[in-house]
């Protein structure tokens, strides 16, 4: 089964009708493997994530990058891949609530999160990312927020060759990693922990 084929049919439909299909039948009577449109869209998104990671890891430089640089490279690669589908994604993402709640993007999110978790682990090993009690668990959510921000910025970017998105990516990634890097918050937590312990131990009063 050629997986690409249903995608091409789907994309052609959206581009020529300038709307999203309501059912598979609306696209074509012979799309193999799919019963519903969300299924197909979900797979399309999953492919974006898979192709992005694949392309990244094929670049010999990627392995040498720091976690921060890997995130940058991932976003730039991702944007290169979704670039040709911009018009379609504009229609899909008109309603942002759908991406936050919708099942359509779950597999994409899962793929992306898989990459992110490895990245976070690596970042922690390299000292780029600080392990923090409780908070560490929500790190992947911050990365999810980051890719949503990149996507949303890119969809609205009217600059030539979407150059402003390149700038935004740098800034978003730096903000993200600066937040996760060891910083004042950790010293504050450390102090709080110390004070609590002092209190429990009942010394010195």
């Amino acid at each position: 089964m050629n997986l690409q084929d249903p995608f091409i049919k789907y994309k052609n439909f959206v581009l020529s009708n300038n709307k999203l299909p309501k059912s598979i039948n609306e696209i074509s009577s012979d799309i193999s493997g799919y019963v519903t449109v969300p299924q197909l869209e979900s797979d399309l998104w999953k492919t974006y994530a898979e192709t992005t990671l694949e392309t990244c890891t094929q670049d010999p430089a990627f392995g040498e990058y720091t976690a921060r640089e890997k995130m940058l490279a991932y976003f730039y690669t991702f944007l290169q891949i979704v670039k040709e589908d911009k018009e379609i994604l504009e229609l899909q993402l008109k309603n942002w609530r759908s991406i936050i709640r919708g099942k359509k993007y779950e597999e994409f999110k899962a793929e992306y999160t898989l990459f992110v978790k490895i990245l976070i682990e690596e970042g922690q090993e390299r000292g780029e990312i600080q392990k923090r009690p409780f908070i560490s668990n929500v790190y992947p959510n911050l990365f999810w927020l980051a890719i949503l921000s990149v996507l949303s910025f890119w969809l609205n970017d009217k600059s030539e060759d979407t150059e402003q998105t390149d700038v935004a990516v740098e800034k978003i990634v730096h903000l993200l990693f600066d937040t996760l890097a060891p910083n004042a918050v950790d010293s504050a937590l450390d102090l709080v922990q110390f004070l609590i312990k002092q209190n429990f131990n009942g010394q010195p009063k």
Binding site: D59, Y65, R68, E69, Q80, E160, E163, E170, L175
Partner: protein
């Protein structure tokens, strides 16, 4: 990477920084004409601390703001040393593109990765400039310099200018209307500078022009490895003009380099009528065999023929001695205006005549010694006189053709370097013979 994350991002944040330092960004054309031209006054009065503060603010910005900072620092040498050195350092402190962004820029504009285009490509930048950074690469045994532009620079020019504008206007005490044509001119040049394809064209033209000067070297450009955001040229070996100024003791060698610089500039202005308008020491290299290497043709200015003829005819005696003729020309150059009162006409006439005398003095003698302290003293005095003249502090004093803006900037740069070299050079006014009046 850290330096990048600390660049204040929002317009508000950047504006606040300007406000904090009360930066005096300026280029009042008539009133500050002499003052700027000879770098005396304001900048020279800034003490080291003050210069540092302004520098610190500007260096946290980038793009246009840094460019303007560099424009202010044009007057190296006549300026306090602290200031000049600080800005030389700015070249190294500017924003840095991350490795992935370099890769992305290549993929975006060439469809290929750097290692596919070159035999070898160093992902670490060797030098940074205000709107890009330079990487070293090798292809077929040639050492190449690959300049890559920061993304979004072209887009941000307009917002940067709009941000700087109120401060400039307030500092100069002029209305937006009076300043608009000069600001347009600056924007035009800055936008051009972001187009590396145009820079490549300028460079090729300069190579053609420099053919007659075996001692002027302009690197070979590679159009097939260049586009509007990436510019590839031969790597030029040599020491920077700044280093040369500081280390070379032999005055004859200093004069030789100064003469090459003068020939290069005069040739561009008078033969080409389009010139390298960014004459700061960072754009020149001295090769081992004492040739002058010229880099960076991003900022050039083309002079309209009418403006050129009017402007340079002002050094001809038959114009200077013919009041009517001169009045006509000064009107065309917007130095005198139709509704000027008698008093205004007298004022601007005097200023113009004095400016001409001072600027053209080096051109009038067979050879001229820029180390001459009397000349530098005259310049400073003239500058002080201008900046302290209350009559020159209103909107009506902002005048002169916009085409002169970058010509003066270039003269400032040239004279500044010649002063730093304490050079003795021939400048010649031969070009003026061909100007009909």
């Amino acid at each position: 990477m850290d330096s990048q994350s600390k660049i204040p991002t929002s317009k508000v944040a950047r504006a606040t920084r300007f406000f904090k330092a009360g930066v005096k960004v300026g280029g009042n054309y008539a009133a500050h004409y002499a003052k700027k031209a000879f770098g005396a006054a304001d900048e020279a009065e800034l003490d080291r601390k003050n210069a540092e503060e302004i520098f610190n603010v500007l260096s946290q910005l980038k793009g246009t703001a840094l460019k303007i900072a560099q424009m202010l620092s044009m007057d190296t040498g006549i300026l306090p040393k602290a200031y000049a050195e600080k800005f030389a350092a700015a070249q190294n402190n500017a924003m840095r593109l991350s490795g992935p962004l370099v890769m992305n820029t290549f993929r975006k504009y060439t469809g290929k990765a750097p290692h596919e285009l070159f035999d070898e490509f160093n992902p670490e930048a060797r030098a940074a400039a205000s709107i890009g950074q330079v990487h070293e690469a090798y292809k077929e045994g040639r050492r190449l310099a690959v300049k890559i532009q920061y993304p979004g620079v072209a887009d941000s020019i307009y917002s940067d200018i709009n941000m700087v504008k109120p401060f400039v206007l307030r500092y100069l005490k002029v209305s937006p209307d009076a300043a608009s044509q000069y600001i347009e001119e600056i924007v035009e040049r800055l936008v051009e500078e972001t187009d590396y394809e145009q820079e490549l064209g300028n460079g090729l033209k300069a190579i053609e022009l420099a053919k007659d000067h075996p001692d002027i070297v302009i690197p070979k450009y590679y159009p097939e490895l260049s586009n509007k955001r990436i510019l590839t040229m031969d790597w030029l070996e040599g020491i920077t003009l700044n280093e040369f100024i500081q280390t070379e003791q032999d005055q004859e060698k200093r004069n030789h380099i100064a003469q090459l610089l003068v020939d290069f500039f005069q040739d561009q202005v008078h033969r080409n009528k389009q010139f390298h308008a960014d004459l700061h020491p960072g754009n020149f290299l001295i090769t081992r065999d004492l040739k002058l290497g010229v880099l960076d043709f991003g900022c050039t200015k083309k002079l309209p023929v009418d403006f050129y003829n009017d402007y340079f005819s002002l050094i001809k005696d038959e114009v200077l001695n013919d009041r009517e003729k001169m009045r006509e020309i000064l009107h065309r150059l917007d130095l005198l205006r139709e509704h000027d009162t008698e008093e205004e006409e007298r004022l601007f006439w005097e200023i113009t005549v004095k400016s001409i005398e001072i600027i053209s003095r080096p051109l009038r003698s067979e050879t001229f010694d820029f180390g001459d302290e009397q000349y530098n003293k005259d310049l400073q005095e003239y500058g002080d006189e201008m900046s302290n003249n209350p009559q020159l502090k209103n909107s009506n004093a902002l005048r002169g053709s916009k085409h002169g803006l970058f010509l003066h900037r270039a003269f400032i740069g040239l004279f500044g370097i010649l002063y730093n070299l304490r050079a003795n050079v021939r400048m010649s006014t031969e070009f003026a013979h061909s100007i009909e009046v």
